[in-house]
């Protein structure tokens, strides 16, 4: 069944058929036909951002908090080039995005036309896949395929570049293919024998650890439930990457906290000393492994990942299992139940004793100040006062992000959006916009820094326009804190260009945008101010003036092994502490 319609109509019809309810975008010359169609329908809501980078981050926030792909619509040339940071961010964090870009007329392509850019060329390494559609008859098929590619296998961003004449010309509409893709068929089920071998290896372990990542979240809520079941069954300690927080609840008794460069002492020591490591949906990033040669020297490693190219990329593993985390966990749980007989609790009791010793270091402790707000305290108070609400957190990038990861307590998946792989300052506010669109009644808080927020702060206007009550909680230390911390530790405290000489008055700025501005700079006024932020029915910019020179600890300096951590209590002498 096919019918003739304009390319722009085909775009809208294909989006509706894909279940899209929201598009984040910004109009321009090369997308006018699509915007004209958008104007004449009610199925899809368009959210007008203030910069195309914000459109992609908003779509990422939408996608990460719902599990559905996020959709972006931007014009040719600068509209498309402005999405690059967002696209790479989505690529690094495996977030499903379909980004439609307008393009100049097909006969102008290659002529250096007004607002022309080689978008498929530029975005090729920034996307999982991309398309230039030259025939209106191909448009429906390509858009459906773009959704298929974005969500199947390891998720990622897909760009569809649509010349203006292709939007105007008429062509045939076709529905999504029911037979999948002719070449892209990612493996979903893990190898049965490999899973049995993995369970056997796990049952032999005396010092096991589960190291989980964003793949568990991406696999869907069922995977998180199965992970919890596996932890319950095995009694294994569990740690997670930044991207995987929330898959296992922070209140769970087996939780060690986050691992890696700013992970907890107990998580990193357990990673270093374990004898069996089960990596589930994580990719041995350099911020996780530290010095590769000294990574978990005594461990046999099991690695579950949907992307075969993640296996043996950074760390050689003993037992790879290529497949979707959810499927593999389901099999692991089933086989473990069938094979249980070993007294696992007794077998790993010594290990837990050791871990409890490490926990005793209380590595996240800090010294509160009387007259100044410590950033850690601020995050703890936000956590306490938002407890019991349906709260979603986003972050920008830097110290505040690490403190948020350390001190916020995530109980559920899909409630934590942060830029992990790319480390994009300016991610949090637009991401919060996307989250709030998807969850209108939820409390959405962007934990921000005063430097990061200035990268995309125009999106406050978007929040105000759509009455999105996002809360931007700025930890304002007047420094690019993480840059300053590295300069202090590794560059002789020469604070080159990391001090914010001039800052906007964030309270007045909020008011200028039509939002509410709140400031707190003394510990005793913090709680009331945070409460006011939470109770405000509308967007809030909270300027939390904190201690200037706090550092994030623990810290594994880049290129050091896991057991060579700097702890806060050792901050004065700056010597790495080991065992």
């Amino acid at each position: 069944m096919s019918q003739e319609m304009s390319g722009a109509q085909i775009v809208l019809k294909a989006l509706v058929e894909q279940g899209v309810d929201t598009v984040f975008g910004y109009p321009g010359g090369a997308t006018l036909p699509i915007y004209d169609e958008l104007f004449q329908q009610n199925s899809i809501r368009h959210i007008l951002v203030r910069h195309e980078q914000g459109a992609v981050h908003a779509a990422e926030g939408y996608a990460r908090s719902t599990g559905k792909p996020g959709v972006v619509l931007v014009t040719s040339g600068p509209g498309a080039t402005n999405t690059i940071t967002g696209l790479v961010n989505a690529l690094m964090d495996s977030t499903p995005i379909v980004c439609l870009t307008g393009q100049v007329h097909t006969h102008l392509i290659g002529n250096d036309a007004f607002q022309e850019a080689d978008v498929v060329g530029i975005t090729r390494p920034c996307t999982k896949h991309n398309y230039l559609v030259k025939q209106t008859n191909d448009l429906a098929r390509v858009i459906h395929e773009a959704f298929y590619v974005a969500v199947n296998g390891r998720p990622g961003p897909v760009v569809v570049d649509i010349p203006k004449d292709v939007q105007i010309a008429t062509g045939r509409y076709e529905g999504p293919s029911k037979t999948g893709h002719r070449s892209y068929k990612p493996r979903v089920k893990g190898d049965a024998q490999a899973i049995r071998d993995a369970v056997a290896m796990m049952q032999e372990a005396k010092k096991p650890i589960l190291y989980t990542g964003g793949g568990v979240i991406n696999s869907g809520p069922a995977a998180s439930r199965l992970l919890r079941e596996l932890v319950e069954l095995t009694g294994f300690p569990i740690t997670s990457t930044l991207m995987g927080l929330g898959a296992y609840p922070a209140s769970g008794k087996n939780w060690l906290g986050m691992l890696g460069m700013h992970g907890t002492y107990e998580a990193n020591m357990a990673m270093h000393d374990c004898d069996v490591m089960v990596c589930i949906g994580a990719r041995f990033d350099d911020r996780i492994t530290g010095l590769v040669e000294a990574f978990a020297p005594d461990a046999r490693i099991i690695h579950v990942d949907i992307d075969p190219s993640s296996i043996n990329k950074n760390i050689a593993v003993d037992l790879p299992i290529v497949g979707d985390v959810g499927h593999v966990l389901e099999e692991m749980v089933r086989i473990w139940r069938a094979k249980s007989g070993t007294d696992m609790e007794a077998q790993i009791a010594g290990w837990w004793k050791q871990i409890k010793g490490w926990r005793g270091r209380d590595c996240l402790s800090y010294t509160p100040l009387k007259d100044e707000i410590m950033p850690q305290l601020a995050i703890q108070r936000v956590m306490e006062l938002s407890r019991g609400k349906d709260t979603y957190f986003t972050t920008e990038v830097g110290q505040h992000q690490m403190w948020a990861a350390q001190f916020l307590e995530f109980e559920e998946p899909n409630h934590w959006m942060t830029s992990g792989g790319l480390g994009t300052m300016g991610y949090g506010l637009p991401a919060a916009v996307g989250v709030q669109i998807a969850h209108p009644d939820a409390l959405v808080i962007d934990i921000a820094g005063e430097a990061s927020i200035q990268m995309t702060m125009q999106e406050v206007a978007t929040a105000v326009q759509y009455r999105l009550p996002v809360k931007v909680f700025i930890l304002n230390n007047r420094f690019m804190g993480m840059v300053r911390q590295w300069q202090e530790l590794f560059h002789g405290s020469r604070y080159s260009q990391s001090y914010s000489e001039t800052l906007p008055d964030f309270v007045k700025m909020a008011e200028a945008f039509g939002a509410t501005g709140i400031r707190a700079s003394k510990p005793e006024e913090l709680d009331a101010a945070i409460q006011r932020m939470i109770d405000t029915d509308g967007p809030v910019i909270f300027d939390c003036v904190v201690h200037k020179v706090g550092n994030v600890y623990p810290m594994i300096p880049a290129g050091e092994p896991h057991n060579s951590m700097m702890l806060g209590t050792d901050a004065e002498n700056l010597e790495p502490v080991g065992r």
Binding site: H129, S183, S309, N312, K313
Partner: protein, 170 residues
């Protein structure tokens, strides 16, 4: 600490959709991730199905070679990747066109060497030849080296194509 790494040379066959930009994707993968390309050839091999076959000769540590294969396999327009070096015995061939200029004894010597290498003369003037030579890359290298003293002017090579031995197809 930098470990002593042994580099291996591998020949891979990659079956891809013959669509615009597919070669750029493959080449971009190699340059973007810092892999080496010693040789790369591409041509449509199945016209009806619009499939092209790319033959890539690359080198790297065993871990990098595995990584290259996995990275190629996960590209959307890639149907299949075979590491011929791993999969069994295979034939590798390259074609070269070699232009040599000379008179008298040099010209005779060039022709004699070409004969020894089973190179064909595909163009000739009073003072030049163009030889066509097919074989393994090493044979072509040897031939080119020998042509240098007898008046080598220009060389063009196709790069390597490869296919598995025996009756089975990939």
């Amino acid at each position: 600490m930098i470990k002593e790494q042994i580099l291996e040379k591998h020949t891979m066959a990659v079956l891809v959709d013959n669509e615009a930009g597919v070669l750029a994707r493959v080449v971009g993968l190699f340059s973007g991730r810092g892999y080496n390309i010693e040789s790369l050839t591409v041509s449509e091999t199945e016209h009806q199905a619009h499939l092209s076959r790319i033959t890539i000769v690359t080198n790297g540590t065993p871990m990098v070679i595995t990584q290259i294969k996995a990275q190629l396999e996960r590209m959307v327009p890639v149907h299949q990747v075979w590491d011929l070096t791993v999969e069994g015995p295979y034939i590798e061939r390259e074609l070269a066109l070699v232009k040599v200029k000379g008179r008298g004894e040099m010209r005779v010597e060039a022709l004699r060497l070409a004969d020894a290498f089973k190179a064909r003369v595909v163009d000739a003037t009073i003072e030049s030849f163009v030889f066509e030579l097919t074989g393994k890359s090493r044979k072509i290298e040897q031939f080119i080296a020998l042509m240098k003293p007898v008046g080598l002017v220009e060389v063009t090579r196709t790069g390597v194509v490869a296919i598995g031995r025996g009756s089975e197809g990939l």
